[in-house]
Symmetry: C2
Subunit: 164 residues, 2 copies
């Protein structure tokens, strides 16, 4: 194994640890009747500075997506609307609103578990992390636990259809 | 004048009335050290249900754009994250984050005073109001008081450069 591979392996372990935590949070939010999605903001020292589940129904606001709430809480904690150096972990690829917020917040890196082919704005419908016209770019990648997140969402919508 | 023109003329007068109010709000926000931008949400009966200036510095959050705060307040007032039937008036063309939020909120119509050629996502850099992949579309138009809004922003940034 080369040194570079070792470093990549270390990063993968870190990504897995945070995504496991995001998935566990998302599972809890399902119990509150929310679409099971969760997000964490981690600073450059690997410290979780904020987290949130999807709260759109609970808080009755269009700003209730997990990513937006986590970004807002991170801003409050750091006392700045700029989150340079931070990484966002999220269980589902962000929509335009959330991807746009990540650009605005000058995030460094985003890791998501599974793609959102219908509305994802970090690779599926568009890619705002690397848009030629925008003034901030960031690293984005589809990370670990794709299957877990995808199944959790599928099961949620299946159950919802049966209930209706 | 045909009946259709009369109707259009009536709508133009309504748009002018609300945009004047948005411009007046934006001027106030400049005094608080914020980029002078403001937004209003108006319901289908022509009633203002929420308004906000840009509060990004004051509230220290990336979610402080005028449109997002106005949308959030409208959701709280109506008790729903869906704002079908509502119109948003804003002094500057919304960015991806805010345009994405307008899609998420199922807004009916957006009127903005002046384009944002560098970051606007309702016609300039992209047009999220009419995106083939997204599940909601809305009417969007560049409305009255373009020159007033544009000059207000130019003066703000000119003054800021002189101060620094």
């Amino acid at each position: 194994m080369t040194l570079k591979n070792q470093a990549n392996d270390g990063q993968q372990q870190i990504d897995l640890k945070f995504m496991k935590k995001a998935i566990a949070l998302a599972r809890k939010s399902e119990l509150a009747g929310e679409i099971p999605i969760a997000a964490l903001v981690v600073d450059k020292n690997g410290r979780i500075i904020s987290q949130s589940t999807n709260l759109r129904e609970t808080k009755t606001t269009v700003l209730g997506h997990a990513e937006l709430v986590a970004l807002h809480r991170a801003c409050k904690k750091l006392g700045s609307w700029r989150l340079n150096g931070c990484t966002l972990y999220v269980t589902l690829e962000p929509c335009f609103m959330c991807a746009g917020a990540l650009v605005q917040a000058r995030i460094d890196r985003v890791v998501f578990a599974t793609h959102d082919p219908k509305a994802g704005a970090l690779g599926s419908v568009a890619d705002l992390s690397n848009h030629e016209k925008l003034n901030h770019r960031f690293v984005t990648q589809q990370g670990p636990l794709q299957e877990e997140s995808s199944q959790m969402l599928k099961n949620f919508f299946k159950k919802k259809r049966t209930q209706n």
